[in-house]
């Protein structure tokens, strides 16, 4: 092996190691900060209770929205098969409405309730989150 080839090889290996470590750190970080999306059926099936923050999406069930002051809201999210009660304190997005698609982010509790800390806002009344469309299609409740 000539000197230049040796030098190049060392250079290459060193950068490979540095690059590898960097990617490892990034991916490790990534795995820690992933928020999974579930439909009501999936969340019950997987029994995803505990401290992990997840997203839940589906349709807001009709006549299920109750407000008890102090910007606290209770409503139910359904995918046509299962339904989950959600509690949320905060400002509901403008396009939040019964029988419309919604995505909430928060924690699924042991008692089967979902405590949301975010209700995701979308901008178009005809817009349906793609995840919700997918889960509605899976339960056969999707209508074009």
């Amino acid at each position: 092996m000539t000197d230049t080839v040796k030098k190049r090889l060392i250079k290459f290996l060193v950068s490979l190691i540095i690059f590898g470590i960097a990617i490892l750190i990034i991916v490790y970080n990534l795995r820690d900060n992933i928020v999974y999306f579930y439909s009501p059926s999936e969340i019950i099936e997987n029994n995803q209770t505990g401290s992990q923050i997840v997203r839940l999406g589906g349709l807001v069930e009709s006549e299920s929205v109750i407000s008890d002051g102090d910007s606290i809201f209770h409503f139910k999210i359904t995918d046509g098969q299962e339904q989950i009660s959600v509690k949320y304190q905060g400002i509901l997005p403008n396009l939040f409405a019964e029988e419309k698609g919604v995505v909430v982010e928060g924690i699924y509790m042991n008692d089967g309730r979902f405590i949301a800390n975010k209700v995701l806002a979308k901008h178009d009344e005809n817009y349906m989150p793609p995840e919700v469309i997918k889960s509605l299609k899976e339960t056969g409740k999707w209508q074009e």
Partner: protein, 636 residues
């Protein structure tokens, strides 16, 4: 009438197609056509697109609903400015705008006198080949001049959230940035084809790279400012896939502008510069079109048409594969042997290049990971903003450190101790300021303290290197653009950290007449009124703001109910003070008695935007100073 306009516009597009073929003849070494000069044909290319663009504007202004595009995206009752912005507020129109800028850059470059005739011919040829591809795409797959045979009385309107003066100019500015890099790409291909990537190449490319970079920065900043006041979430950056798609080309473009400077000074880093130029343009293409094709879902998505998405993917694939193939064949030839000195400015710039690319990888993985899991495992997920904050913060700290160090190093060899000695006043004062701030505000977090300290040093050292203080006069040095942008970045980072630490937010269920409080601010909720406007109805709340008895102004947050298309939007109301923004959003009233209001205190927002403006100005100043230097050299 409509049919005639349709024919004229389509013929203009075909004229551009034909002239683009003529212009690309230089790539195939056909030289025997000399009827019109290079710049004359470029002028025809440019004018044909310009006129068809003006026709489209005319159709929108006169609300000619015989044209599909106008019918779907406009409405006769819309204010003039939004009829105008409706032109590019949709897929076909924005494609035409994209092409208009593409031919504009081509035309401007054909007029420039900085390069040899042969170099210019090939660059224009490469650029024209791209123009050909895009115009063909426009004609076949997304023609803006399609007509319908119905007699519609009115159009379907433009998404109200897009009816905003800032959003009217955000796409054109961003596009000038994106498309500006097409010229850099063409220049690189020419450089590779002719094996002439050297100081001369860098001198030709430099003003265009800096101009495109400045526009890209401004475009992203406008989008971010719009999100800050329009979306009403109190933030200015959400790590949304669409924002990320514009950030990625910016990161590689930022690396690129520094490489071009190194190439111009030291005639080194040739192949790396080429990689960055190709990467930046590919990311720009991917940025605009993946966003618009519906792969990444957001407010920016216009139409999901698989045919269009496929075309862009094929186009991207051709550009990437052919340019990297060319690069692989030529990279040995363009690299010149060069002996590096480890403690020189090139090393510093190289390190920061790697750090920028690391951030790019972080953003890329975060954006693509959800797409990959959805495709591979049918599992939907999102990546939280925490991921970006945690991964990027350590990189930013290193980045700031080298940003301070590199400009202090000379292009040859420098002694680190000497630099420390020269910077001693700055270092001591910045350490003192940081120490006092830490004590005063009870800061514990070591990362925050480090970023504040490094940002302060960066601001002071940049300003002192760009200006020369001589007893009574302040002389602006030739690197003023650089020092302005670097100081701006320091100010920006300082504001970002302080804003993250000191932001406050509270939600109230408020009745008219009540007084609300957040921190030291008192919000006096005075009234609610309903109003009818031309294209929407609104509910407006009136609150006055005071702090320790002093009146600071009035808030008028608003909910708007649009009818075409039916949509509800919230208008935030912001009172800007020098050190902090106070921000009120109101909710759609759920009942008669009370209304939900969200109050925010956002410290250092003005400072943050000031930093951004300085970064953009830095780029523009570099272009201008570079021009003057170039003229002086020519005279000498």
């Amino acid at each position: 009438m409509s049919l005639a306009i349709n024919y004229i516009a389509n013929s203009l597009l075909i004229l551009c197609l034909v002239t683009s073929i003529i212009q690309s003849r230089f790539l195939f070494r056909i030289q025997n056509y000399n009827l019109l000069s290079l710049s004359q044909i470029s002028a025809i290319q440019f004018l044909s697109i310009l006129v068809s663009f003006v026709i489209l504007i005319f159709l929108f202004i006169t609300s000619d609903f015989n044209f599909d595009l106008v019918y779907f995206h406009s409405h006769s009752e819309k204010p003039l400015i939004y009829k105008l912005s409706g032109v590019w507020g949709n897929h076909e129109g924005s494609m035409l705008l994209w092409i208009l800028i593409l031919v504009l850059f081509n035309f401007l470059f054909s007029l420039s006198r900085s390069s040899s005739q042969k170099f210019k011919e090939i660059t224009v040829a490469v650029q024209s080949l791209m123009i050909f591809g895009f115009v063909l795409f426009l004609l076949v797959l997304s023609n803006p001049f399609n007509i319908n045979n119905e007699n519609f009385n009115d159009g379907l309107g433009l998404n109200p959230i897009l009816q905003d003066p800032l959003l009217a100019i955000h796409p054109p500015i961003l596009y000038i940035g994106y498309v500006g890099f097409s010229l850099i790409f063409s220049l690189s291909i020419t450089g590779l084809l002719t094996s002439e990537v050297d100081k001369k190449w860098a001198t030709i490319a430099k003003p265009w790279v800096f101009a495109a970079w400045s526009f890209l920065t401004a475009g992203i900043a406008l989008g971010s400012y719009w999100a800050y006041y329009e979306l009403g979430w109190g933030g200015y950056w959400f790590w949304d896939p669409v924002e990320n798609a514009s950030l990625m080309p910016w990161l590689s473009a930022t690396a690129l502008i520094h490489c071009v400077v190194v190439l111009q000074r030291k005639n080194t880093m040739q192949s790396w510069t080429m990689v960055l130029a190709i990467l930046t343009f590919s990311l720009s293409l991917a940025g605009t079109f993946l966003v618009r094709s519906g792969v990444l879902n957001s407010v920016h998505t216009f139409a999901s048409d698989p045919g269009r998405g496929l075309f862009i993917l094929i186009f991207l694939f051709i550009i990437l594969s052919s340019s990297f193939l060319l690069f692989a064949l030529k990279s040995e030839k363009i690299d010149k042997p060069f002996s590096h000195n480890i403690s020189s400015r090139n090393t510093g710039i190289m390190v920061n290049n790697w750090l920028l690319i690391s951030i790019l990888i972080v953003v890329f993985l975060g954006t693509m990971y959800p797409l990959a899991t959805d495709l591979l495992y049918n599992q939907s997920l999102t990546v939280g903003p925490q991921y970006y904050a945690m991964s990027i913060t350590p990189i930013i700290i290193l980045f700031l450190f080298f940003m301070i160090l590199s400009p202090q190093l000379s292009w040859g060899e420098s002694k680190l101790l000497k630099i420390l000695n020269e910077m001693r006043y700055i270092l001591v004062s910045c350490l003192t300021i940081t120490f006092l701030t830490t004590l005063y505000y009870d800061l514990f977090n070591i990362t925050e303290i480090l970023i504040i300290l490094l940002s302060l040093i960066l601001i002071m050292s940049s300003l002192s290197s760009g200006l020369n203080f001589k007893s009574t006069k302040v002389i602006v040095k030739s690197n003023f653009g650089q020092s302005m942008a670097h100081a701006g970045f320091g100010i920006f980072m300082l504001a970002v950290v302080s804003n993250a630490v000191y932001s406050q937010e509270k939600i109230y269920d408020a009745k008219v007449g009540s007084k609300l409080q957040l921190d030291e601010y008192i919000f006096d909720f005075k009234n609610i009124e309903q109003e009818e406007k031309v294209n929407f109805n609104s509910i407006k709340a009136y609150l006055s703001l005071s702090k320790s008895g002093k009146d600071l102004g009035e808030f008028t947050p608003e909910i708007r109910f649009y009818s075409d298309p039916p949509t509800i939007t919230s208008e935030t109301s912001i009172i800007h003070q020098f050190f902090s923004d106070v921000y009120v959003v109101m909710n759609v009233p759920q009942n008669q008695e009370s209304i939900s209001l969200r109050l925010h205190i956002k410290p250092f927002m003005n400072i943050l935007w000031l930093g951004v403006v300085m970064i953009i100005l830095g780029g523009i100043i570099t272009v201008i100073l570079n021009r003057n230097n170039y003229r002086e050299n020519e005279i000498n």
